[in-house]
């Protein structure tokens, strides 16, 4: 039965909205009326509790309306309504299954309203809503509760992180997951945690711990929810952060201009203020340091234990009845953990053996997982049979070209991470596929070849090694790395920075007329101070000689330089690895760098690294220098390899990476070709004027007076034109003269300046 139409007369009397308005304005005067309504609410509630499933739509005023009214004005009479929130909580938590939907939603809304008016606190509200969310069979109520819970958590974390509340809720979620591992209710814990993680409200390890428990539960939905979080939660968070940055573009200049011209209303004023506030906020945000958020995978407490239990519980366990899709997800997570934290789960590799056949469903995912699970601490003899099997099953003349390409690529991905897993006969065999007619296979084989030219050229046949590798082997620069060997850390291109700094220092000294070396103490201190002052300043180039002159604190310098006044010869001696005095020397220096890198490691460590703290400006400069001198091309092979490995360790391998070369061989359809050729160019042709105009508008500039005059409505110009015709000759002359005069002066006010 719908709501009965209420007659006009009835309305006048039973107007709760009107009363609410009056109560809000003057609570003390309407106390009696409120008391009456509250009494009525209590009687209605008693009636209702006799039979909670009834609807009381029959009367003029329903319980729903009364609840709405009271919750809106409850904060005016805290003494009268002390029991009201508890009543509501009792009704909704006892009878939510049988309540009529509108009343139920109203009660939920009222509780949230009471929370917003600070009548009840957040933890009460959430402790009420969450059990209902978990237990209710109604879908619409669940969605409502979910949004309400999330919004409340968000709003209570807006100003400052509400640690107490977060901890309570996290504990509730954790208990929900651990109390009954088989129940599907845990999905709500997963959903809430994921959403809050995405919005960067929960960024701590407790949230990760919840997800860890979810991944280890017994229900498939909960497991996949937890696993998906680890695999994609951080990316989602980043995307969300990017989205919020450019939500609306406010052009404050335009708004200000409009405010000057248009009618001045309060609304316009408010809008302008709000826009100014947003612009200011955005500026502040731009300057604020990037929030340092650790990824979920890094916040795990015990990755080894987690990976082992995940693997043994969901993947290896024959009793686990997971669908293949979810199993692959879990496997992805396990292999990701193994690769990222360099864990040792030996049984994982033998597990793969069974699945490495081309007929296996979604085998590329398995291949990707295997590659992901490989790192340089995996024993090569564990990987060898796997590679052998891939080679046997996938890479043969009989296999389809895509299969062969995928197999070769998978082998390459594994070998990038652990080059020692390959033996020479197999490698030489596989490399032969670079002569294949299929483009995908060919490219994959070439990839493998170029990889081994860098990491293990001695496994290749002599003629395959290439010039660099052969020469490197001959000179002894290229060595095979042993299992478990790690190289020492260093900063790439630090020598360039050092050189630059030396040069700057020299220039400054020359200007001052000081001896090039023999730095004085106060000079040094001053420079240090400068350094700290300009912590964040970009020192743009070498020509501003005042900012970034850094006097090296090399003690040797002081010791070596005697008090001689003729400066140059000792300077040259003193500077072993520092900048040369002129360009010719620089050339020489550059040419000698390779030989230097062959020197023992200990000598290579720069003094800049050991004696200074690099400022952000320094790092920026370093980056510039690296690009300028194209350091990357001169990088030794293992550095390149290191960069490659670093990229892979952070991102993981996906199915697409494995499949990529196979796609090379495919022919594109006509439509794809057209789309590719078009790219993302503009669809419509535009005239240059239109483009120019658009550009101006984008810059926030207006039109010129001439343009305005041209655009002016014809009818508006008529009156002036008529008047012009009736002028006397004298008048015409005067205006013409005035025009000439103005144009000479440059406008009415003149152009000559103030």
């Amino acid at each position: 039965m719908g709501k009965r139409k209420v007659g006009a007369l009835e309305k006048v009397d039973a107007d709760l909205a009107n009363l609410q308005y009056k109560v809000r304005r003057d609570p003390a005067s309407y106390r009696d009326d409120f008391q009456n309504q509250y009494n009525q609410y209590e009687t209605f509630r008693e009636l209702f509790l006799q039979n909670p499933s009834t609807t009381d739509d029959g009367g003029i005023v329903s319980l729903r309306d009364l609840i709405d009214f009271i919750s809106h004005v409850a904060n005016c009479y805290p003494d009268l309504t002390a029991k009201f929130p508890d009543d509501l909580i009792q009704i909704i938590s006892l009878h939510h299954e049988v309540l009529e939907s509108e009343l139920r939603d109203k009660i939920v809304g009222s509780l949230v309203l009471l929370r917003n008016k600070d009548v009840i606190d957040s933890s009460t509200l959430l402790n009420t809503l969450f059990p209902i969310l978990v237990s209710t069979p109604s879908k619409s109520l669940r969605t409502l509760l979910f949004t309400k819970i999330l919004s409340d958590l968000r709003s209570s974390n807006v100003k400052a992180t509400n640690h107490k509340l977060n901890r309570t809720i996290q504990t509730v979620l954790y208990n929900l997951l651990t109390s009954d591992r088989a129940s599907p209710k845990g999905i709500w814990a997963v959903k809430i945690t994921r959403e809050l993680w995405k919005r960067q409200i929960w960024t701590d390890s407790k949230a990760v711990e919840i997800m860890k428990e979810a991944s280890l539960s017994d229900n498939e939905k909960v497991i996949t929810g937890g696993v998906r979080f680890f695999l994609g939660g951080d990316k989602e968070r980043e995307e969300m952060a990017d989205d919020t940055d450019d939500d609306e573009d406010v052009d404050i200049g335009k708004l200000r201009h409009q405010a000057e011209i248009n009618k001045k209303t309060k609304k316009k004023d408010r809008e302008l203020k709000r826009a100014a506030a947003t612009v200011k906020k955005r500026e502040k945000k731009k300057n604020a340091p990037h929030p340092l958020n650790f990824s979920a995978l890094h916040l795990l407490h015990d990755p080894q234990g987690f990976a082992e239990s995940l693997f043994s519980k969901h993947v290896q366990n024959s009793k686990a009845k997971l669908a293949l899709e979810s199993k692959i997800l879990v496997l992805q997570l396990v292999s990701r953990l193994v690769g990222l934290h360099k864990l040792t789960v030996i049984t994982l590799y033998s597990y793969f053996l069974k699945y490495l056949t081309p007929r296996q469903a979604s085998v590329t995912s398995f291949l990707a997982c295997l590659a992901q699970a490989t790192h340089n601490l995996v024993p090569p003899d564990v990987l060898e049979p796997l590679i052998q099997k891939i080679a046997n099953e996938f890479v043969s003349e009989a296999a389809a070209s895509e299969v062969a390409a995928a197999g070769l690529n998978a082998i390459r991905e594994i070998c990038v991470r652990q080059p020692l897993a390959m033996n020479d006969t197999l490698l030489q065999d596989l490399v032969m596929y670079r002569k294949s007619k299929d483009k995908g296979t060919m490219m994959a084989a070439k990839g493998l070849l170029s990889l081994y030219r860098e990491v293990g050229a001695e496994l290749l046949k002599k003629r395959d090694r290439g010039k660099d590798a052969a020469m490197g082997l001959r000179s002894g620069e290229m060595k095979e790395r042993r299992f478990g060997e790690e190289e020492t850390g260093e900063v790439e291109g630090i020598e360039l920075l050092e050189k630059l700094k030396d040069e700057e220092r020299r220039k400054k000294r020359e200007e001052l007329g000081l001896p090039l070396d023999a730095p004085t103490d106060d000079d040094e201190e001053e420079d240090e101070a400068d350094n700290w002052k300009n912590w964040d300043v970009e020192s743009d180039s070498s020509n501003d000689s005042d900012g970034w002159i850094n006097v090296e604190s090399d003690g040797e310098d002081i010791n070596i330089s005697d008090s001689d006044d003729d400066s140059k010869p000792p300077a040259k001696k003193a500077r072993l690895s520092s900048g040369p005095p002129d360009a010719a020397d620089a050339e020489k220096e550059n040419s000698t760098t390779p030989s230097k890198s062959a020197e023992p490691e200990a000598k290579k460590i720069s003094k800049l690294l050991t004696h200074h703290v690099l400022t952000p400006a320094d790092l920026k400069k370093l980056q510039e220098l690296k690009v300028q001198s194209s350091v990357t091309s001169q990088l030794s092979s293992f550095k390149k390899r290191q960069a490659l490995a670093a990229k892979h360790a952070d991102e993981g391998v996906s199915k697409d990476d494995i499949e990529a070369p196979a796609k090379l061989g495919k022919k594109m359809t006509r439509e794809e070709k057209i789309a590719g050729a078009k790219g993302d160019r503009e669809e419509h042709h535009k005239s240059t004027t239109a483009i120019r105009k658009e550009k101006k508008a984008a810059e926030g500039k207006s039109t010129t007076n001439k343009e305005k005059a041209r655009k002016k409505n014809f009818l508006m110009t008529l009156g002036k034109a008529k008047g012009k015709q009736k002028r006397s000759l004298v008048d015409v002359r005067r205006t013409l003269k005035g025009h000439i005069d103005r144009s000479k002066r440059g406008g009415k006010r003149g152009n000559k300046g103030m």
């Binding site: 309407y30 009696d32 009456n36 009367g59 005023v61």
Partner: protein, 340 residues
């Protein structure tokens, strides 16, 4: 489909109109099913004895269902039908529908928006046998109280009528049921605007929903309050069960015989939610006196003072009320003094 001439013809035939002819009878449809059969004897399992009209019981049940109808005339008509059915019921025979069915269905209508429906409801209630009311008094009282606190003035006044009837039918049950005493007192104080807790020094503004109302309404309210207090406070003049006065081996028999009320152990509240002071049952007259003294007496006396000053009809009603209060509380004060 069907491109051939034959098919087309067939198709056409389906839709051709048969010609009707005089004296030939109506032609049967092509898909008519012959339902005729032959049998030696026919036995019908259920035979309705009433040839044309359904029984009064069925009609009453139907009209009870119609009480939820959205049109108020329909609701009123249904109530009227029920009333006549009850009134016309021959004495000695049971009602067409028992009161335990009728009352839960109709009590909702105390809060009905339409005036006519409410009037008819009162007629129906008055036609019901008084003995049946007692066991439903708490439910009825809840609805009455909801009506008395209603935002609409008409419903508030009407609820007083219902209360008067209810007190006439089952006075003792009303004052002693759960929440029947304290909550009703509170409700009356609210109605009359005699609440004590608004102890502001400012003159109180006229209430929003015409709570005080004009004198006529106030007189009515005071009348109802007087009735209510009389039921609750003034001792009944019923002689206690006197089992020949001196039943030698059995002393105080009257306390051990089965109670005559329904649900005699309701005050123990075995299965309900725990009650507070307001919702508690006050079955004893002394209890009621004590609560009345604690919670309402001051306010009522103060209110009566004001009302008596008004004089006229209002003053008369106030005097009546005061008399009843005095009468009801006479022995209570005595007790207090005796204790001291």
């Amino acid at each position: 489909m069907g491109s051939s001439a034959k098919r087309k013809k067939e198709k056409k035939q389906d839709f051709q109109k048969q010609k009707l002819r005089v004296g030939k009878g109506k032609l049967k449809a092509a898909n008519a099913t012959d339902t005729s059969f032959k049998a030696k004897s026919i036995a019908l399992k259920q035979q309705s004895l009433s040839a044309n009209a359904p029984s009064v019981e069925a009609q009453c049940a139907h009209h009870l269902a119609l009480l939820n109808h959205k049109s108020d005339t329909q609701r009123r008509d249904s109530l009227a039908f029920l009333t006549t059915a009850i009134v016309n019921n021959a004495p000695g025979t049971p009602l067409p529908q028992p009161s335990s069915v009728i009352l839960p269905a109709v009590q909702r209508l105390v809060l009905d928006g339409s005036n006519k429906v409410r009037e008819q409801l009162l007629k129906l209630l008055q036609s019901l046998p008084k003995g049946d009311i007692a066991s439903h008094s708490d439910q009825l009282l809840l609805h009455t109280r909801a009506g008395m606190t209603h935002l609409a003035a008409e419903i508030r006044v009407f609820a007083l009528d219902v209360l008067e009837w209810l007190l006439g039918a089952a006075a003792d049950e009303v004052v002693s049921c759960a929440g029947g005493w304290v909550k009703m007192l509170k409700c009356f104080l609210g109605l009359l605007g005699w609440q004590t807790d608004t102890s502001g020094k400012w003159s109180t503004p006229k209430s929003f929903g015409k709570a005080g109302g004009d004198t006529k309404v106030q007189v009515k309210q005071m009348g109802a309050l007087a009735l209510f207090l009389k039921a609750g406070l003034v001792p009944l003049t019923v002689a206690p069960i006197d089992l020949s006065g001196n039943g030698f081996p059995l002393w105080q028999t009257e306390h051990h015989v089965l109670s005559q009320r329904s649900n005699a152990y309701a005050h123990l509240n075995l299965f309900g939610a725990p009650r507070d002071e307001e919702a508690e049952m006050y079955e004893d007259r002394e209890d009621r006196q004590r609560v009345f003294h604690e919670r309402a007496e001051l306010a009522i006396v103060a209110g009566l003072e004001q009302a008596t000053k008004g004089g006229g009809e209002l003053g008369r009603a106030a005097a009546h009320l005061r008399k009843i209060v005095k009468e009801g509380m006479a022995d209570y004060r005595g007790e207090e003094i005796a204790q001291q």
